[in-house]
Symmetry: C2
C-alpha cells in the first residue's frame, strides 16, 4: 500500500505493524483449542483493512485513536468470524492459499470458533476503558448492527443463487448488507468512539457506504480481470456456487436472447467451473458489463473520497483516500 | 412450575407471560427470512429460565428489574443461538418435538441465524437505557464472557467424545463452561444491571455455579430415569453421539473390568442407539452411578440454595429457590 506519511505515526505500514503486533501478542501463544482456532483464523495473512478504517475514522474526524486499539481488533474479530462461517457455508477448502478453519479443524469446531470470535468482539471492545462508557456502548450497538446486517446479507445472498433475473438494485442492497456493513461499522464506530460530531459521524459512515459497494463490485470483477487475481477465494468460486454477481447481473440485463442463454448455462452448475468461468468472462467483455462495472466501482470510490474531503484529521483522511483508491486496484 | 406468590407481580407465571409476550411482540411478525428464522427458534416452547433468572437476580439482590426486560431477552437470544448451533453440530433433527432450525431452513441459513441471534443479544442488551451505561457495558462483558465460555465448553465436549477415561473433574469443568456459563451470565448480569453490591453479585454468581452443575448432572440423568423424559433432545442422543456424561463417567470409574467392557461397547456407536441406551441404563443402576449422580445433583442444588439464602429481595429469592428445586425434578 502507498506510504502516505503526512504526519509521523499515522501511516498504513505503522498501523499494520501496531495492529498485527497486538494481534500476535494476544493470540499466538494460545493454550486451549478454541483459542488456537481463533488465532489460526486471525493470524492468517490479511490487510487488517477494517481495523485500520476504525482507527483512521477516529483520527479523520478530529479525535484520538490512541486508546482504540482493542476496538480496532474487535472489528477484525467480527470480520474474521463471518469469513470462518462463510467458508463453511461455501464449502471452500482454501482461503488465501491456506486451509480454511473448518478444513483444518473440522466443521463443528470451526462453527464454534466463529461464535467465539463474535463474542470476543464484544469483550474486547469493552476494554476501551479510557472512552466514556456511553460511547463504547454506542460503538457496541453499531458493531452488533453491522454484524446483524452481514447476517441478513448472507441469507439474501443465499436466496439469490442461480437467479439471473435478480434486479441489480436488489443485488446492491444485498451487498450493502453483506459487505458494506462492516466497513460502515468500522468507520462509524471509530468516529463514535473518538467523540466525533454528528455530521462527522455521518461523513465517515457515507464514506464507508460507498467504499463498501465499490469494493464489492471490484471484488466481483477480479475473477474476470487478467491472470492470477489476488482475491481471498478461488477465481471460480462464484460460478461454482452459481452465484450471480454484479457484472453478471449487469451483463445479463443488457444481453440479447442468445447471450442470455449462455449466461444461464454458465451459471447453471452444469459445466465444469473453469469452463463456466471462461464463458462468463467472454460474455462480460462482449456485453460491455466488464467496463460498465469497472466504471461503477470507480464512481463509488469517487463518492467515498468526496464524503470525507472536508474532515479535519488530514493524515487520516489521506490514509482513507489511499484505502479507497486501493480497493479498486488490481494489485490490492 | 410452583406458583410462589409471596409478592404480587414477581411470580413465575407472571414473568413467563411478560417475557413471552415481549418475545412474541418482537418476533412473531418477522418480515425477512433472517428474522423469521430467529423467531422460529425463539418462539419455540421453552421455559425462559435464563431470562427469568436474570430478572430474579436483579430483584433478589435488592434492585429493580422493571427496566431490564431487554436484557432478559438478550440472554435468551444467546442461549437459543447456542442451541441452534449445537443442533447443527449434533445433527439433531428435532428439538422438543419440533424440527430444528437447520432441519427446517437448511444448515447454511441456520448457521447464520445463530450468528444473528448472538449479535441481537448485544443490541438488545444495549436497549437498557435507564441503566447507567457502565453497568450495561459490564453486563455486556459478563454475557460475552459467558458466551465465550459456552464455546470453550462445546469444543472441550467435542474432544471428550468416546473418552470413558475422562476424569470426572474434567467433565465437571466442561459442564461449568458449557452449561454453567449461561446461568452464571444471567444471574451475574442481572445483579450488575440492578446495581447490586459486590458481595451480592458474588452470591448470585455462586448460586448460578451450583445450579448449572446440578442442572446438567440431572439433565445427563434424565435419559436414564423412568419412561418418557421431557428433555429437549431424544433420550438416545448422548449414546448415539458417543458422549460420556456424568453418570456414565462415575459408573465407569467404579466399575469392574467386565462392566467396563460393557460401558465401552455401549458408547462405541457400534450398537443401535436404543440398545446402547438400555445397556447403559442397567449399568448405571448396577454400579450405583444413577443414585450417586442423583445425590450429587441434589448436593449442588443445596449449595445453590445456600448461596442466596441471605439476599434481601425475598420474593425473588423464593423464585430462585423454586427454580433450583425444579431443576432436579423429573417433571421439569
Amino acid at each position: 500500500m502507498t506510504n502516505t506519511e503526512t504526519r509521523a505515526g499515522f501511516t498504513s505500514p505503522e498501523l499494520t505493524e501496531l495492529l498485527s503486533g497486538e494481534m500476535r501478542k494476544r493470540w499466538s501463544a494460545a493454550a486451549e483449542r478454541t483459542e488456537q482456532m481463533a488465532g489460526y483464523a486471525l493470524l492468517a495473512p490479511g490487510k487488517l483493512l477494517r481495523p485500520m478504517l476504525l482507527l483512521a475514522s477516529a483520527e479523520a474526524t478530529g479525535g484520538d485513536s490512541t486508546h482504540l486499539l482493542p476496538a480496532a481488533l474487535a472489528v477484525e474479530y467480527l470480520h474474521v468470524a463471518t469469513l470462518v462461517h462463510d467458508d463453511i457455508i461455501d464449502d471452500d477448502e482454501l482461503r488465501r492459499g491456506r486451509p480454511t478453519v473448518h478444513a483444518h479443524y473440522g466443521t463443528s469446531d470451526a462453527l464454534v470458533a466463529g461464535d467465539f470470535l463474535i463474542l470476543n468482539m464484544v469483550s474486547t471492545l469493552a476494554e476501551c476503558t479510557a472512552v466514556p462508557p456511553e460511547a463504547v456502548l454506542e460503538a457496541a450497538r453499531v458493531l452488533a448492527t453491522a454484524g446483524s446486517d452481514v447476517c441478513r446479507g448472507q441469507v439474501r445472498e443465499a436466496g439469490l443463487v442461480g437467479d439471473l433475473d435478480c434486479p441489480v438494485e436488489d443485488y446492491r442492497e444485498m451487498v450493502r448488507l453483506k459487505t458494506g456493513a462492516l466497513f460502515r461499522g468500522a468507520c462509524r464506530a471509530g468516529a463514535v468512539l473518538s467523540g466525533a460530531t454528528r455530521d462527522h459521524v455521518e461523513a465517515a459512515t457515507q464514506y464507508a457506504e460507498h467504499l463498501g459497494l465499490g469494493f464489492q463490485i471490484f471484488d466481483d470483477l477480479l475473477p474476470y480481470l487478467a491472470a492470477s487475481p489476488t482475491t481471498g477465494k478461488p477465481a471460480t468460486s462464484d460460478v461454482a456456487n452459481m452465484r450471480p454477481t454484479f457484472p453478471v447481473l449487469v451483463g445479463y440485463q443488457s444481453a440479447d436472447q442468445a447471450d442470455r442463454r449462455q449466461f444461464v448455462e454458465a451459471l447453471s452448475g452444469r459445466m465444469p467451473a473453469a469452463e463456466s468461468h471462461q464463458v462468463m468472462r467472454e460474455l462480460l467483455v462482449t456485453t460491455g458489463a466488464l467496463d460498465l462495472s469497472r466504471a461503477r466501482a470507480a464512481d463509488e470510490i469517487l463518492e467515498a473520497r468526496e464524503s470525507i474531503a472536508g474532515l479535519p484529521g488530514t493524515a487520516a483522511v489521506d490514509l482513507m483516500l489511499a484505502i479507497a483508491d486501493l480497493s479498486v486496484d488490481r494489485n490490492r
